[in-house]
């Protein structure tokens, strides 16, 4: 077996993950909290106001990272779903179980901050624009996965059913991404892309970038913590978990 396949098989072992992941948790948490602190203070306090929107634009420092994560986490669940169905990897199944509620929360934050920003900018709390609607749909897709998992009593079966649904739902994510171009209604196209220089000055987009990375790191910390709990719960009967609990208490 090559090194990659060995690593891949090890990755699938909940115990291996549990033994290794504690420093990851601490690292992600430290990076996430630090960057979010710096980015948020910079963005809210020191970045220049927008010439059109004044100070109301500052909500992007929360809105854009959460909206970005809302989509990215769903795609990650779709990939994990394929891993569950093809390799029956337990850890990927646990990843979906842990990610669905977290994804639902960040999607909720994106919707809420979007509504708060929309009130002064568009003059309405809610607009049936293509992109806002798609993010609302994304919220319900997360809800569907959480609901399906809760309804199925057997853990492994719930995991595979949720995997199928995650893959099916991932088909929706490109529709979200491109709906802006298809229907081009109220929501402006993405301000930051990888292919073109941003239309904002650096004093505006650097804190946004910092918050973006901070959000990712913090959510990664949540996911690692959730996965560690899930491993302990699912392997509660295993000897190594009992030993670990004995040492921990």
């Amino acid at each position: 077996m090559g090194r990659f396949t060995t690593w891949f098989h090890r990755m699938g072992s909940p115990r291996w993950f549990f033994d290794l992941s504690r420093p990851w948790l601490v690292g992600f948490l430290a990076v996430g909290v630090t960057l979010l602190g710096v980015g948020t203070v910079w963005g809210l306090g020191f970045a220049p106001p927008d010439y059109q929107q004044g100070d109301s634009y500052r909500i992007i420092y929360i809105h854009v990272p959460s909206a970005h994560l809302a989509e990215a986490l769903y795609v990650a669940m779709g990939v994990a779903g394929i891993v569950v169905l093809v390799w029956r990897m337990k850890l990927a199944d646990m990843f979906i179980a842990v990610t669905a509620p977290v994804g639902m929360a960040v999607t909720g934050i994106a919707l809420l901050t979007g509504a708060i920003w929309g009130r002064p900018t568009w003059g309405a709390w809610w607009v049936w624009d293509a992109r806002t609607t798609s993010v609302l749909v994304l919220f319900f897709l997360y809800l569907g996965i959480v609901a399906l998992r809760q309804a199925i009593p057997r853990a492994d079966q719930a995991g595979r059913a949720a995997a199928v649904l995650a893959i099916v739902g991932t088909v929706n994510v490109p529709i979200i991404k491109y709906s802006v171009d298809w229907w081009l209604t109220l929501h402006q196209p993405a301000s930051i892309t990888f292919t073109a220089a941003p239309a904002m000055p650096p004093s505006m987009w650097v804190p946004l970038l910092i918050n973006m990375v901070g959000f990712y790191a913090l959510v990664a910390a949540f996911l690692v913590a959730g996965l560690r709990n899930e491993v302990l719960l699912r392997e509660a009967d295993a000897q190594w978990v009992r030993d670990w609990l004995e040492r921990a208490s």
């Binding site: 319900f140 569907g144 609901a147 399906l148 057997r154 079966q157 059913a161 199928v164």
Partner: protein, 222 residues
Amino acid sequence: MSIAVAQVRRDFLVAFRARADAVHPVAFFALTVVLFGLSMGPDRQAMGELAPGMVWVLALLATMMGTDTLFRRDFEDGTLEQLLLHGRPLFVAVLAKLFAHWCVTGLVLTALSPLAGLMLQVPAEGLPALAGSLALGTPALTLIGAIAAALTVGLGRGGMLAAVIALPLFVPVLIFGAGASLAAASGASPAAEFLWLGALLAAALTLAPFAVGLALRVSQEY
């Protein structure tokens, strides 16, 4: 191909003998049309402007209700297990099953939709587009709804859960279906929406049966 023909013949026979399963969604559609008509007040003009979209929502909900019985009987009497075990392409069998189901639900709803539109004051030039968009849209809805039905078939009361799972996935079909009907009713050309509906149906036809097959295999383990 014989598996498809056999499946369609068998499902038509079962649908004919268990007529209630096919009648209920249609009755639900007719009743909700009446309720909508009664709830809108006497302004015929306002009703006619909203009705194409509303007929679409009602047909969507009726299709959703119809998919609840799609696999339940087969799951309970063991036929579903045979479907998974017979060794012929599951894709074809699932597609045939969904086609038979659509013929007794979606097709009937499509045929009834001009009548529902007429009662709800949809202008005459909007009726062909309403029926046409439902003819393209309801098969796509059946295909997508079948995924949710297959995922929840083993759970005692799956109906509401299946709705929570399927309804968000219906959104693109609804947007273009209702869009086509509304455009035609207001005198614009619905061609673009029809092309999108066709694209969604083509995607659903080629992808959904795989997902349904996978979901059925997962559900059969309960």
